[in-house]
Symmetry: C2
Subunit: 635 residues, 2 copies
Amino acid sequence: MDFKDLNAQATFTNKELEERRKYFEDLIKRRYFFNQGFEIYGGVAGLYDYGPPGCAIKNNLLKLWREHFILEEDMLEISSTCITPYPVFKASGHVDRFTDLMVKDVKNGAGHRADKLIEAFIEAKLSKKKLKPEEVKELEEIKQKVETFSAQQMHDVIQKLGIKSPDTGNELGFPEPFNLMFGTPIGPSGQLPGFLRPETAQGMFVNFNRLNEFNGGRIPFAAAQIGLGFRNEIAPRNGLYRVREFDMAEIEHFFDPKRPEHPKFKYVKDLKLPLLTAKSQEHGDGSVTQMTLEEAVKSGTVSNETHAYFIGRTFLFLVEAGVNQNNIRFRQHMSNEMAHYACDCWDAEIEFSHGFKECVGLANRSAFDLESHTKGSGVKLLAARRLPEPRKVTIIDITLDKKEIFKALKGDGNELTKLIEGYSDEQKAELMKKFETADSVEFDIKVKEVEKKVQLPKALISFKVSEQMQQEEKFVPYVIEPSFGVGRIFSAILEHSFRMRDEKRTFFHLPPKISPIKCSILPVISHEKYNDAIHKLKVGLTKVGVSSKVDDTGHAIGRRYARTDELGIPFGITIDNDTLVDDSVTLREILTTKQIRIPINDVFRVVSDLADGLITWDSVLAKYPLFKPNASEEN
Amino acid sequence: MDFKDLNAQATFTNKELEERRKYFEDLIKRRYFFNQGFEIYGGVAGLYDYGPPGCAIKNNLLKLWREHFILEEDMLEISSTCITPYPVFKASGHVDRFTDLMVKDVKNGAGHRADKLIEAFIEAKLSKKKLKPEEVKELEEIKQKVETFSAQQMHDVIQKLGIKSPDTGNELGFPEPFNLMFGTPIGPSGQLPGFLRPETAQGMFVNFNRLNEFNGGRIPFAAAQIGLGFRNEIAPRNGLYRVREFDMAEIEHFFDPKRPEHPKFKYVKDLKLPLLTAKSQEHGDGSVTQMTLEEAVKSGTVSNETHAYFIGRTFLFLVEAGVNQNNIRFRQHMSNEMAHYACDCWDAEIEFSHGFKECVGLANRSAFDLESHTKGSGVKLLAARRLPEPRKVTIIDITLDKKEIFKALKGDGNELTKLIEGYSDEQKAELMKKFETADSVEFDIKVKEVEKKVQLPKALISFKVSEQMQQEEKFVPYVIEPSFGVGRIFSAILEHSFRMRDEKRTFFHLPPKISPIKCSILPVISHEKYNDAIHKLKVGLTKVGVSSKVDDTGHAIGRRYARTDELGIPFGITIDNDTLVDDSVTLREILTTKQIRIPINDVFRVVSDLADGLITWDSVLAKYPLFKPNASEEN
C-alpha cells in the first residue's frame, strides 16, 4: 500500500511491491540513511544508527515538530534525564506493569515474546498450508486478538496449535511477564537501583509543580519533551519499527477536568478523519468511520475536545512532514489493551508495506500520573482553579511529633508520616474524627513492598482547626498525552516518498522542509573556471538559509543528478558556460526533472521560497523559460 | 573572576562574589533554568533537568554549534545509540581503563573518589588551620597533582595526612579502580552485556567505513555527533559540572597523518591565544603564554596544523556563544594525565567562580581507535591515498578452510580466523614464509580474556600470490577530536552573562542567538483594546523568525520588564495608547534599559536584525527617537 506515487495513486501487485522494497532497502543502505548499530561487531538487534542523510532528515522532522507544537502552542519544553531512580517507576506503575509476556525454551532458556511467536506461527501456517475456511477464520481471529490475551490464553493457544521454540523445536514454558525497562545501578555502591526511562513523560510529571509555578499557576498548559526512550524489547524487528533505543517527542497537556474545552478547537473541528473505534473492533465489523472531529466529540466517540484537538493537530503534522494522508487512520484502544495509565487512547496508525502500525499514541491519562507521584513522593502535585465566589472553608493543620514517631516506629515512621502528610482535606477531617474517640489509630502502610499495620498514639499527633475565606480550590489536573515515535514516522516518510523512474533511478520525493539538503550546486563539468560561480551560489544560498551541497566531481552531470536525487535533494542548480557570460543558471526540480533558466540574482529567493513552501514549482515553471539539456546530460 | 560585567570589567571582592552567587543561584532556581532531577523524591546526585528557559538556551547553543561546525565545515553528522555492546568498549580500552580510583570506607563500604577526597581534605585544612609556609606549599603541590597520582601514591598521601572516611571517620581501604561506565544487560536473556556510552565517539569510529564510503573515499573528512554521554561518577558535584548524564557534541576529523595541514588554517592562524603548555606545568612556573596559532604549530607546541585549526575554531565558537573571551585558556595535558587513546591533548578551560574548568577536550587520538576496532572486530578500517605514480605490488590472498578449522578448534577457530583475516600485507607475507618450512604454525589467540596457543595445520590454509599495479595505498587515518561538554559551556555562559542592577534586579545579558526568547510583547496595562496590536506584533515577529513572549498579565510594566530580564530576553516591545493612534511602539534593550519609539512596520526587521547580530543597539539608538517612560513604568 505504500511506495505508491502520491500523484499517480498507482497501485502495485504484491510482487511489484516486493521488487520495489528491494530497491528501497538498497537505496537506504547504499546512501547510508541508517544502518544496524555496531555492524562491524556483527550488529545488535534493535539498535540502529542514523547516517548523514538520515540524521539530517530526523533533525528536520524534530525541528518541524518543535515549530508545529512547542512554538505554535507556547508549550513549556524541558529536558530531563534518561536515568531514573527506582521509586519513580515504582510509583508510576512501570515496575509492576510495564511488561510483555515471554515464553522460554525449556531446554536452552532462550526467551521469545509470546504474542509475536504466535503471530509468526499463524502467518507461516496460513501462507504454507491449504486450510479449511473455518480454520483460516479461527487462526486469523487469534492473530488479531493475541496481543490482548492473558498468560493463560496464550499458553492455551500455544498448546492447542503445538507451537515449539523456533530455533530448537523444544517445548515452551508458561508465559511469564518480562519487564521491558533496562536496569542500571546508580552510583559507586550499586545500592541505588535505576532504570533507563521507557518514555520521557515521567520527567514532566515529577516536575509538575515547577512547571506550574513557571507558568504562573495558570492552567491549562502543556509541557513537551524531545528525547530518548529505551525498551529492552524481547523480539526487536528489523528496521526502525520496534527498537531498543529511540527518539520520542511527547506532550503532556495539563487541564482542568471540569473544563476540557480547547480554545483553538475551532481550527480543526471540521477535519474529517478516518476513525476506527473500540466499538467497531469489539462488537462490529472492524470498519473505519469517516467523521469530523466536532462530530467525534459531540457523539462521545473521543473523550473530550482537548483530546480531539490534539488528534487533529497530529494529523496535520504528519501530513506536513510527508506522510501520505490517505495512509493515516486513528484507532481507539479496546478496553483490554489500554495501558495501565490511560482511560481513553487513540493511536495514529500509518500504513506501511507491512500494514498499519502505531506511530503516535494519544492518551487521556486522566489524573493517574500526578496522583501516583503524589502518593509515591508525599509531595502534592496540584493546580488551582478560581472559585466563582469566595467561600468559607475549614482548614485542618496536622502536626506530627516526628522525633517521637521515628523513635517509636523506626523505619516505618517515615512511611507513616509521608502517608499522613499526603492526606486530602477530607481524609484529614476523617482522621481528626477518629482520634476524637480513640487513644490510638491503626494505619495500613507499605514498607519495601510489604503491607503492615502500625499504631499511632494520640499523643504524637495534634490538629489545629481554623476557618479561611478561599478564593480558589486545588485539584489534580488531567493530562492529554500525544506521544510520537520519531523513528516510526521517519520510516513512514521514507516509504511514502520513495519513487522509481526506472530500476536504476530511485529517489525520495520529500517535502523540502524534511529534505536533508535543500539544493545541489553542480558545474556541468569539473573545471576551475566555474569555481567563482560555485562560491557565489554557496554563499548566497547560505545567506537565505538554504543548505546546499556542491558536487564538482568528474562524473557525468546525469549521474550527479541521480546521486542528489537519491538523497532526496529537491532542487539543483547547474552552472554552465552561459553562466560565465550572462550570470544565469539552470534550476531543476526532482520529481519533474524539468529545468528552467534563471538569473543568479533571482535564484536565491526562488529556491528559498520553494523550500519554505511559499511558492510552487508550477508557478516557477510558468515564470521562467524552460531549459532543454542535451540528452546526455540527463542520463 | 566570573560574574563581572563584560563592559565595565568590574572586579569584585570574594565576599561580593559570594553575595552575587547567592542571587545567581536564586535566579536559576526561581525561573527554572535547571533543577536537580527527581526533586520530589529527594533528588539524585549528578542528574539534572533543564526547565523551559534552560532547555531553550541549550537548544540554541546546540543549534549554534551545528551551524558553526557541521554546516560551515560540511561535516557528516550521524546519530548512533547510547547502548553499546561490551566488545566495543573492550576494544576501545574503556572496559580496562575508563576508571577512577575509589577508596572504600572499611566498615560501611561507602565509596569515595580518592583524588577528590584528598583535595577536599587539603582545602579544608588550608582554610581552617594556620600552617607553616612549607606545609602550605606541600599541601598545595599535592592538591595540584593528585589527579595524576597512582593508587600507591594516593594511598601514601591518605596515610600520611591521616584522611578518614568523611561521614563516619572510619579507616579507608586501598584505592581500587572503579569503572565509570553504567552497565546494562541487553535482551531478555541478559547474556549480552552492554554499557551506556561515556562518549559519543565510538559510534563514529565503528561506522568509519560507512562514512568514508558515503564521502566517496575522499580524505580528510569529519564526522560529528550531538548526543548523550553517561558516566557513573563516584562523586558528582553540585551543579552541571560533573554529572552522570550529559549532552555532548563531538567531532572526529579523520586525516592522512602525512598531510596534517588544514586548508582553512589561514583564517585562524593569527589568533593569539593563552596557552598553558605541558612543559610550563611540568618543568616551569605554570604560567600561560600568549601565542598565535601559527607560532604554536611552527614551534611544535601544538601537534599539527589541523589540531591548531580546531583550537582556533573552538575559541571562536565559545566567544560567539557568550563565554567571556578573557576567561578562556587552552591547557595541554601532561604526559601522566593523558587519556589512554590520546597522543596530544589540549583542553579549552573556562574560568568559573571556582576556577578554571575543562569544557572542551581537543585530542589528537592518532590511529588508536581505528586500529583498536580493526583488531577487535576483524574488519579493516582504512582510507586510501593516491600514489604519486602507480606501482607494482605483490598481493597475497589467503583462503582458510573454515569448516575444518571450526571442526578442529571449536570456538577457538572463530578467533583464529578473525585474527588471520585481519592481517596486514606484511603479516600475510610473513605467515606464508613460515608455512613454507613448517607443516603447522602456532598462533597466540585470546578467548574470553584468556590467552591461549593454537596450532593451524598447513592443510587448512592456502596462499595465492599475484601481482597488481596499484594506483593507491591504504592507511589508517589519524583523528583530531574536539569534544564539547554542553552543560559545562551552558553553565559558563550563565555565569558570565549574569548581571545585577541592584539586589532586586538580576538578569542575564546573553547573546541574542542564545537567549531563550528574543523579544517580549507587553501592553503598558492589561486591556483588551491592545489585543489587535499584540496579535499583529506576534504574527509579524514570527514571520521574520523571531520568537516572542506576550505578557499581558495585570502586573505593573516595570515588574513585567524585570521578569523578562530575568529570562534573558534581550528586546521588549511595549504597546501603549499612542500605538492605537499612530501605529508606533517602544523598543527596549535589556542592558541599557533604554527605549526608542519606532513604527510597527519597522520594528519587525529591526528586531530580527538585532537578534541576528546584523546591526547594533547603538545604531538603533542613533536612528530612532529616545522614549522616556514615566518613572513608575521602570519600577
